[in-house]
């Protein structure tokens, strides 16, 4: 099963989404839908001459994209803090961005690609890649009107506020939040988080489906670095930058897996990445099978398997009580990476619609070629399992690296924080909270079992 062509796996699910003519129905299989797909149609935003172009194929009543050819809008942050990344074309930053954007052009899927500079306002820069990125020098930013500091939260709001479900927005930035003269840095940081969150929520309220993909790269930075108090200093070192991609899950997935896959980044390696979205996996893949394994090995546990989802008489196996099941998270594996999918932090035990507690157990890859599962879950407990329903939900969390790469004091780079970004966690948490807002839990897959 796993040897099947990746395109085949995804294209069935995703194309179904893209090409669905039934605009009022729910796409894909009924699964453990995290998002209510039965909301009525919403209004289409009216055209604004200065606003970024949106796809002409927007349907009047649908919130789902009906076109496989979205519009791609690229936003490059041009605040002063970005100066050090550009040197007329040879910096890693410029090369990576150029590589990515030309990859998008080469894939030829976009109906239009528009470049913008964004700072306090949005400035269209046409369609020429060279002009847009390659020829940039530090002085270009000043001419472009980039201010010293950046309101990242504000930028999120701007960008997400100017797109619809037939648009892909790409945001390139250093993602450094700048309290500036604000003495209450903590409050400012929370404010940024809130802005990011609000940007997400505002978009999803209108268009429902959203995916946020972020790549982290390192590039030479030679220029003025503004710390969190907005004091500049000369810095010449490797510094991280981020490329965010926003759009409908189907579009973003196609981009990540097919149009501009990871392996196409040849200039510099992707240091870290994260994707979060709110379409349940069951809508993206056709095989959503999960089921209990046979308790015929010591590793699987000691229980009686009544059916794929029903088990009883769980006995002690070794030190603790355990049962095992398999599930197909292949699409998540490809989109999010094995490590992320096999990180138990991303799973929670549910009770009803609420999170009960974290997941105790292990997750490993299922190497059995003939089985329909991609992952094997081993659920552990020190005390006997309670009878009733056991639910495990896959709820993508802010990845560890986001915290590891967060700098809390960037007034000096002392080696330990050389590759960190000040206040990065706030942005990521803002994104996460945007997907898990107002009591809503962003469950991408759920596995329910009856323990009798």
């Amino acid at each position: 099963m796993k040897t099947r062509n990746l395109f085949q796996i995804l294209s069935i699910g995703i194309s179904a989404l893209l090409l669905t003519a039934c605009i009022n129905g729910t796409p894909g299989s009924s699964g453990n839908s995290a998002v209510n797909k039965n909301t009525p149609a919403v209004n289409v935003p009216t055209a604004d001459p200065n606003a970024p172009q949106t796809s002409a194929a927007t349907q009047e009543t649908g919130v789902y994209p009906t076109t496989p050819n979205p519009v791609v809008n690229v936003y490059l942050e041009i605040s002063g803090s970005m100066n050090g990344y550009v040197n007329g074309g040879t910096s890693t930053f410029q090369q990576v961005v150029k590589e990515y954007l030309s990859g998008i052009n080469n894939a030829g899927f976009a109906s239009a690609v528009n470049y913008y500079y964004v700072g306090s306002k949005i400035t269209p820069k046409g369609n020429d890649l060279n002009n847009y990125i390659t020829k940039l020098t530090p002085s270009s930013f000043g001419a472009a009107g980039g201010g010293a500091t950046t309101d990242i939260g504000g930028l999120f709001k701007t960008i997400l506020g100017n797109m619809d479900s037939n648009t892909i927005s790409i945001f390139i930035s250093d993602c450094i939040i700048s309290p500036g003269s604000n003495t209450n840095t903590a409050a400012y940081a929370r404010g940024q988080m809130t802005d990011v969150r609000d940007a997400i929520v505002s978009y999803t309220n209108q268009y429902e489906d959203l995916a946020c993909l972020v790549y982290q790269f390192d590039s030479e930075f030679n220029g003025r670095y503004f710390d969190y108090q907005n004091h500049p200093r000369k810095v010449n070192m490797q510094r991280p930058f981020y490329i965010w991609v926003f759009g409908h899950t189907a579009h973003v997935a196609m981009m990540k897996l097919q149009y501009v896959p990871d392996k196409d980044f040849k200039v510099a390696p992707i240091r870290n990445q994260w994707i979060i979205f709110n379409t349940p996996l069951s809508a993206l893949q056709d095989n959503n099978k999960y089921g209990l394994l046979l308790p015929n090995t010591a590793k699987n546990g000691q229980y009686v398997r009544k059916s794929g989802t029903e088990l009883r008489t769980i006995q002690k196996a070794g030190d603790n009580y355990r049962f095992s099941f398999g599930a197909n998270l292949l699409t998540a594996q490809f989109l999010m990476g094995d490590d992320y999918v096999e990180d138990t932090r991303n799973y929670k035990q549910m009770i009803g619609k609420a999170v009960k507690e974290k997941f105790y157990g292990e997750i490993e890859k299922d190497f059995n070629q003939s089985s329909p599962f991609s992952e094997i879950f081993r659920v552990d407990s020190d005390s006997p399992f309670q009878k009733g329903t056991f639910s495990l939900a896959f709820i993508p969390e802010v990845p560890d690296w986001a915290y590891e790469c967060t700098d809390t004091d960037d007034r000096m780079f002392n080696g330990a924080n050389d590759n960190k970004t000040y206040g990065l966690n706030n942005i990521f948490e803002g994104v996460f909270n945007g997907f898990n807002n107002g009591g809503h839990i962003n469950i991408l897959a759920q596995f329910d079992f009856e323990i009798k």
Partner: protein
């Protein structure tokens, strides 16, 4: 379908063999009804016991073949026949000579096959005993086999 596997729940002959006979498909990681051999096995066992019962009590119904040990002979013939057939069925699965070869992920050996033969033989004996007790009173020569019937029309 669950009904048939109920008779085979006791873990005497190996849990893996139980899973196999219930139709465990490793590719599907689930029981597949098409591979469930329990209905066939149960039916053959049950009907053989019924057949032996009918033969002993109503077709043969012989006044010289109505003592307790004659009944035991009938029971033994039935049980041995079922033993051979059941064990053979599992062995064929193990060697892959049948329509339901055993998946390598399941641990089933010739010992399991033998124990299953024994299990099924005992089950057939129980069926035979059951029918012997409830159905014999219409048999004029064997109504007191294997022991005196409470139903007495004389």
């Amino acid at each position: 379908m669950e009904f048939f596997s109920l008779f085979y729940q006791l873990n005497v002959y190996g849990q893996d063999l139980f899973y196999h006979l219930k139709g465990w498909d490793n590719g599907m990681q689930d029981f597949v009804a098409a591979n469930n051999q329990f209905p066939t096995i149960w039916l053959v066992t049950f009907l053989s016991a019924v057949a032996m019962f009918v033969v002993f009590y109503y077709i043969l119904n012989h006044p010289r073949f109505n003592k307790f040990w004659h009944w035991l002979i009938a029971l033994a013939v039935l049980a041995i026949g079922i033993f051979i057939w059941s064990r053979g069925l599992v062995l064929a699965d193990i060697t892959g000579a049948s329509m339901h070869p055993v998946d390598p992920s399941l641990n089933i050996s010739a010992d399991n096959a033998m124990m299953f033969g024994v299990y099924n033989a005992v089950l057939s004996a129980i069926f035979f005993l059951f029918f012997s007790v409830i159905g014999r009173f219409g048999s004029k020569n064997c109504k007191n086999t294997p022991w005196k019937s409470l139903i007495n029309r004389k």
